[in-house]
Symmetry: C2
Subunit: 409 residues, 2 copies
Amino acid sequence: MIAEIVCVGTELLMGQILNTNAQFMAEKLAPLGVDLYRQQVVGDNPRRLTEAVLTALERSDVVLFSGGLGPTEDDLTKETVAAAMGLELVFHPAEWERIEERFRGFGRKPAPNNKKQAMFPAAHCTILPNPRGTAPGCLLEKDGKAAVLMPGPPRELRPMFTDYVMPYLEKRSGHRLYTHMLRIFGKGESDVEFELKDLFDSQSNPTLATYCETGEVKLRITAQAGTDAEGEALLSPVIREVERRFGDVVYSENDEELAAVCHRLLLEKGATLSCAESCTGGLLSSAFVDMGGSSAYFVEGDVTYANEAKMASLGVKAETLDAFTAVSRECAEEMAAGMRRKAGTDYALATTGYAGPDGDEVGLVFVALASAEGVAVKELHLTGDRNRIRRLAVLHALDLLRRKLCTSR
Amino acid sequence: MIAEIVCVGTELLMGQILNTNAQFMAEKLAPLGVDLYRQQVVGDNPRRLTEAVLTALERSDVVLFSGGLGPTEDDLTKETVAAAMGLELVFHPAEWERIEERFRGFGRKPAPNNKKQAMFPAAHCTILPNPRGTAPGCLLEKDGKAAVLMPGPPRELRPMFTDYVMPYLEKRSGHRLYTHMLRIFGKGESDVEFELKDLFDSQSNPTLATYCETGEVKLRITAQAGTDAEGEALLSPVIREVERRFGDVVYSENDEELAAVCHRLLLEKGATLSCAESCTGGLLSSAFVDMGGSSAYFVEGDVTYANEAKMASLGVKAETLDAFTAVSRECAEEMAAGMRRKAGTDYALATTGYAGPDGDEVGLVFVALASAEGVAVKELHLTGDRNRIRRLAVLHALDLLRRKLCTSR
């Protein structure tokens, strides 16, 4: 089954918006047994949109559209695709009621031009609900071709794609693919590939593929199988073998982020946390506060950027700063211990380092973890620009905590 | 002049890499007077790549390619485009010497297959240097059509595009465009368009266009002119008129972000800052620490997520929390005042609110600014998910500071 992605919108075409929808959908297609051969971006121009729709429907079995479902005159995707497939749009009163209800939920009233959003073909059409916005999506099927129309805003497209489109594609492709995404922190992509070369080369079911993220490697293991149990039976020995070779640098089997793993472990253990940050400047605390429910364990974070703040808030000693500077093992240790004491938490993380852009020692960072057993400090030599160094420092601090939580009772 | 962007690479097509090159190039074309009608992404497949190249060269004057210039068999862009234009590739010894030299600079030796990267047409070809990588780009011109071939890695493509391709496009289009990007906080996109309707409708040079970002509106004003002075003379009266109507909700004429404006004003005034955060959880501090040089004014940030931390670190009174809860005007006021006192800074910002996902009052947020003149508090009713509420709260806090810094001596 051949698929094509067509993203519609002048703002996207002109680069005012980054096209994250195409990537979001594209990376989910291969595991569904769908071949993606092309992506297109076109603006809200009727002639060129029509041309793109006709070309895509001609050469692909399924065309995934994003954007152009809004109420304005510029929003043309549904009208254009329906016309290209020879389908007429008619007003759906039940859908209109749903739209009115959604507007009430937002404390607003629909305008007359919103009626356009309740227009769909009378047949060959499945309406796809959009709980996050006012524009429903739809799936049009005719003569063996399918067009899936989804709204442009990623927060509306993503759940619609995951909840409705992926199950449809899986069913239609006849493939059943089972996948685990292992996440690895502390080993580079080339090392991962080198140390698993025999598995990469010999395996046809399951298959392995690596992906890079800032400071991390993701390893996707995908099996084709008839049932869930068969899929797991194929995946499980490979996952076990990777974990046997790599040990605890594998921190998730299910694509869970490092911060989410820490979040889950802290909640499970009923432990509390505080953070003292210098170079990461709030990013570390924010990684926890990002997640709903973090108030159960996250007590306090201190961004002690100036030396005075390190002394006054965390009790870092003036002699320590004089003798070793603020970017030192000793300072990181006192920051973590001081934070833990002050906030009265089970664990306290600390970061201090040179994030640049200027200075001789850019990339030198210390991360520390204080617990009832004392303080552990890790010295890092990171590379990249200011924000990459800060992000990597956050990951290393999270990893320190993750390892501690995994081994403590 | 009509342009098209063709990004080549299976990793890009399959969503293993986010396509930032297309956006980077696309947003620079309109101000150069170049019309961009289409973007395509294709994999490293010879047949489909050939088809994409032929289609693009047929319908567009300039085709901008990224990717596929590497040394491996998968890298086919140059071979395919040259063949489509009827150009034969020949070995360029001078270019090969340059590649060997570049490898020496990286402390490596080129492999035999790198010779492919020194193959270019003998005529109709301008080689574009790539100081950041081993694959030179090239510009092929024949029969009124141009193909620009650039490497895929963004850090190699970006300088090549800016240094060589943009001057070429500007010269070829014969347009000179001048642009100002105004940034607006505190007015929605539809209000901006409504209140400037006469300007939008009547202007052909300069033209106006709005763009949305989280919580903000950007207004681009673009003039076509022969010289810098002429361009400014056309832009200036329109900018003045927008500012006259909108007053201080316009916070930048040059696409400067809110945090960057605060950063600049704090440095100019030699003033110091601290932040006390609850719901924003480190994002506000991080907005400052993000910027190199912030250590000159940013003293300390406290993420006082728990009530105990608000009391112990900031001196928020237990009675205040009992009587008004942590999400209240009173608590925000005490947080800001307590932070300023503790850190000894000229200004202190505070945030407290319900970011969700659960609860009856999700979106209720207070931001406060303490200064020598006392504490100002603003009550906000924000909508969206947890992270949108937190981001909007940060913007409101920044705006409170920006307004204060603009009016203080």
